[in-house]
Subunit: 413 residues, 2 copies
Amino acid sequence: MSASPSAEIISIGTELLLGEIVDGNAAFLASELAEIGMPIYWISQVGDNQDRLVESLRQALNRSRVVITTGGLGPTGDDLTREAIAVIAGEQPSVDRELERVLRERFAAMGRSMPERNLKQAWLIPSAEALPNPLGTAPGWWVTRPDERYVACMPGVPAEMRSMWSEQVRPLVEHLTNASFVAVTLKTFGPGESAIEERLGRLVEAANPSVATYAKRDGVYVRVAASGSSRDEARRRLNPVLEQVRERLGADVFGSEDDSLGSVVGSLLARRHSTVATAESITGGLVCSYLTDIPGSSSHVLGGVVAYNEETKTRFGVPADIIDEHGVVSEETAVALSEIARARFDADFGIGTTGAAGPEGHGGVDPGTAFVAASDAGGQIAKLIRRSGPRETVKHFVALSAIDLLRRFLEDR
Amino acid sequence: MSASPSAEIISIGTELLLGEIVDGNAAFLASELAEIGMPIYWISQVGDNQDRLVESLRQALNRSRVVITTGGLGPTGDDLTREAIAVIAGEQPSVDRELERVLRERFAAMGRSMPERNLKQAWLIPSAEALPNPLGTAPGWWVTRPDERYVACMPGVPAEMRSMWSEQVRPLVEHLTNASFVAVTLKTFGPGESAIEERLGRLVEAANPSVATYAKRDGVYVRVAASGSSRDEARRRLNPVLEQVRERLGADVFGSEDDSLGSVVGSLLARRHSTVATAESITGGLVCSYLTDIPGSSSHVLGGVVAYNEETKTRFGVPADIIDEHGVVSEETAVALSEIARARFDADFGIGTTGAAGPEGHGGVDPGTAFVAASDAGGQIAKLIRRSGPRETVKHFVALSAIDLLRRFLEDR
């Protein structure tokens, strides 16, 4: 066994070799391994071909202590990860009765009988333990080699892989490293990545704790990470820097870790037993959909309307003279929509959106221009949003901007 | 030299091993290679370490006729691609005067003098030709090995790489393939991947044309690909198999290539100058949002309502006795919602959704159970949907199911 353990990632699937999907799984796992201080020197993608898969796995086990694979655990003839591992281990797979029971139950719950080919998802070999997969039909494998090397096989479906990694594989891999590591991710919405980096100043240059920014789909994340010989030591290093980061970013921080803008707004509303409704134009229902992504949201989200053209807006009660005077894409129309949302649903808070998603302009504004508004019985707030990019990008950003505006409105209340 | 040429991609940069960036370059190159019919069996990512880089390149040249690298051509001590290639070729790099002149001119044009470390970007070895880089300071290398194997080294900056690939490297690689290649992707929604594969039967076993299935976020895609000595020959091989696939999958095929469910429904509506509106519960606005993701959708999407709780549903006109008799999650409620959508917006077609997104049950049904409905003045259609997984997965699947139901309804009209 090599003195310093290192890990290596193999992503399995011909679709990767055809460029049909980008290997986001490997990037996710690589960042996770970096976080727990496990070095990684190799990542590779290999197709659904047993000989090449066996060759890749052999080579990886030769040079790395932990090999992490994703993909190839499906039920079809193209899914060969189990077969390849069995070849390397020189073991015969057999159906595990408990795994089979779980699998058949899963199909029964979907009202379907299990196709026979799915039975191989219940396979095990003597050197493998099953990693349960509550989100799908493919359990993973944790394989222990005689030379204290390990193979973790996980599904390729990102949600299933991430859950299996966080809950089962990561603790096993962490156990193989000696340092303790703590990290906190703060989430911001509003300023761009370079603006955030500028406000963090020299904090981003230090190594332990390290401070790094990541532009994500729902804002810029700031990750503060520290290591030490114990978790307590790591935490003692982390906390003062975390405080400094929070101070510098102020109200642009909407949450941390698993928070989303929707969950934060949901908590703020639940805390004051308040309700919200939406009246959307440019976002086409996406604000309401994001608000209802949160479990339990039916207690504070009453509903919404999408008024996608001018006639529909006036039909739902936007005064025609507001549209005539200020335009269909205006602060005034956004505010009027937010008030219609409140009135129509008898809600405490209302959100309104109007704008041009593109690729054409609309209502006298350029594509990517929008207004969002939030209101309650005591007042209202509105904001001009500009965002370039394809329609879906614009809609997504405007929808999040509207929810973030309500968040700031609620925090000031 | 192996009989059938194949290519392999090596992406170079420690940032890839830290998961700081996703390897979009490899996916781009892989799809390009698929397009020109150059098989590819391996992709790998390696860090800025000379020994490991040399090892990766040696192995790649051993098993593939063309090795394509990206990254490691910058001016810093971490940029080691040229050094590694020189080791493998057993040649000494020297400064090429012409490359140096171009480089110095480039800096002069930016009003800066060239840092001395940039001089290595003007290196060449005898077996390498320079690939000019009009977008950056790093020229690429096209290296010819004595055994008629080739290495193409390109920069890691995506825009520079893509331009160098399209204009210089792709023609060189195309020249090495003798075959022409055509492929068509059909998109299905409804049945799962194994059901689709079962219906395709032995078609998935053939090699040319090949038929492969891919589970995607919006259904199962079926890719039919063929090669031949000319594009015409490839097409002649492809077409009969493509027809067979279409026949076997029938109405489950919603489109091909860049089609989405939303764009297909949009075209069907536009063709008959019809309009649609939605009344959503479980999907919280997502159906309407997906329908409005399509440019120009304001001509056929009028809007929608989200009635997220029972009181709101009756407020918008779902008869209380329907809810009392059949339950809030029922076929009848879904149909009633679709009719409310039509009535409220004066639309030709209506969509309704109701169900339990989870994690808790709702309205007497288990999480993941929903009904979707579509209607017009002449009738209605409804469907029971079951889907396990987290809330967002359920909402997404139910929303697509509702749009797909309208598609089938429209196609039958």
